[in-house]
């Protein structure tokens, strides 16, 4: 599969000049000197041929599709626009304003202050003057519940009386307690 193409060695003293000669980077004097040497040296001719054969191969690249470049250009331009926007957002805020805007801004500011004081003060006074003595409905409901629990205590006492109805206990004394309790309830 591999094709043998051994690279040629050049004369040591001419190697660098040959590289520069290949790239067209020699002046006229050097160029003549190299050309003269090449006409006599087979190795250096081979070396130069190798450079001519391999170096363009290394640099070769397939062209990208036109669509790639269109996308590339569009993306770059969009990024540039975004970068410019980011760079200048604060300048818009600090940009010098026309002279007529100074009294206009002042008037608007005073108006906002006046409106704020008027309405703000009204709200504040109504908050301060809220009657503290007014009892909320929740507390009143709790008061009714307290009365309910008091009557519950009485019922509990009746339960105790029933226990005392037991025959083992003294009937007269229990009877007298029951009468007393019923009177309490009434």
């Amino acid at each position: 599969m591999k094709q043998r193409a051994p690279l040629q060695s050049a004369c040591k003293s001419f190697e660098e000049d040959l590289v520069l000669y290949y790239y067209g980077e020699t002046d006229e004097v050097e160029q003549r000197r190299v050309q003269q040497h090449l006409s006599q040296c087979v190795s250096c001719q081979g070396f130069l041929d190798d450079l001519r054969r391999w170096l363009p191969q290394i640099a070769k690249s397939e062209p990208m599709a036109p669509a790639f470049w269109d996308d590339y250009y569009r993306e770059t331009v969009t990024k540039l626009a975004r970068q410019e926007e980011r760079k200048h957002w604060w300048r818009a805020l600090l940009a010098p304003r026309p002279m007529w805007m100074v009294p206009a801004f002042g008037t608007v500011g005073v108006a906002i202050l006046v409106v704020g004081l008027l309405f703000g003060k009204g709200n504040l006074s109504s908050f301060i003057q809220r009657p503290a003595e007014r009892i909320p409905q929740e507390i009143l409901a709790d008061e009714n519940q307290l009365q309910f629990f008091e009557s519950m205590d009485l019922l509990e006492s009746l339960g105790k009386l029933e226990k005392q109805d037991d025959p083992s206990t003294d009937s007269t004394s229990s009877q007298s307690i029951r009468v007393r309790m019923q009177q309490d309830i009434v």
């Binding site: 599969m1 690279l7 790239y23 980077e25 170096l55 290394i58 690249s61 397939e62 990208m64």
Partner: protein, 191 residues
């Protein structure tokens, strides 16, 4: 806008410096392929090359007012691209070996069918040599690689490469020779 397309780089840059972004868009159109290919030569990955080269345009535009015209626009811009590529290489320290041939497989196949002189074996050898050369390039010191890619792949003159790399022409000549010698060595092993 159409007549602006004819303006020289420096004239467009001057208009950009006065706030005309549209002029920079002409420079994008003019240099996008070269910028992308430099980045691709360094990274061997199309998406990364696209991001890096676009980033180079953004940086160039952001710093356009600092361009003082002492060098040409393209050497100034190439320097930005190369620096971004070298930074990326330093950060990732690794190259993915994706070739442009694989990215555009379809056009390649069409070319093969259309070209009656196409020889698959020669193509395979050339492809393998290119792959080997790419690996050698990746293992090269950055300065040698940069000098070689800019001369061999981008066609910049040694004088311009010296400006891009901010070094002397003599140093670039040495880098170039060393890079070619290293490549030759690797290709010798290959054949």
């Amino acid at each position: 806008m159409a007549d602006r397309q004819e303006l020289r780089d420096e004239e467009l840059v001057s208009l950009c410096q006065q706030g005309e972004r549209q002029c920079f868009e002409i420079l994008v159109r003019r240099y996008m392929e070269k910028a992308f290919h430099i980045a691709f030569n360094f990274t061997r990955d199309a998406e990364t090359a696209k991001d890096l080269s676009q980033d180079a345009f953004l940086r160039a535009f952001a710093n356009i007012k600092q361009f003082d015209g002492r060098s040409t626009f393209y050497t100034w811009f190439y320097r930005i691209v190369v620096n971004l590529c070298l930074d990326h290489a330093r950060r990732h320290n690794r190259v993915t070996w994706e070739s442009l041939d694989r990215l555009s497989e379809e056009p390649g196949e069409q070319r093969q069918l259309a070209d009656s002189t196409f020889v698959p074996e020669q193509e395979a050898i050339a492809g393998e040599a290119k792959r080997k050369a790419d690996q050698t390039l990746e293992s090269m010191p950055n300065k040698q690689r940069t000098a070689f890619l800019l001369r061999n792949h981008q066609g910049l003159s040694i004088a311009d490469i010296a400006k891009v790399m901010k070094t002397t022409e003599g140093t670039v000549r040495v880098y170039l020779h060393r890079a070619v010698a290293a490549l030759r060595q690797s290709l010798m092993e290959f054949v």
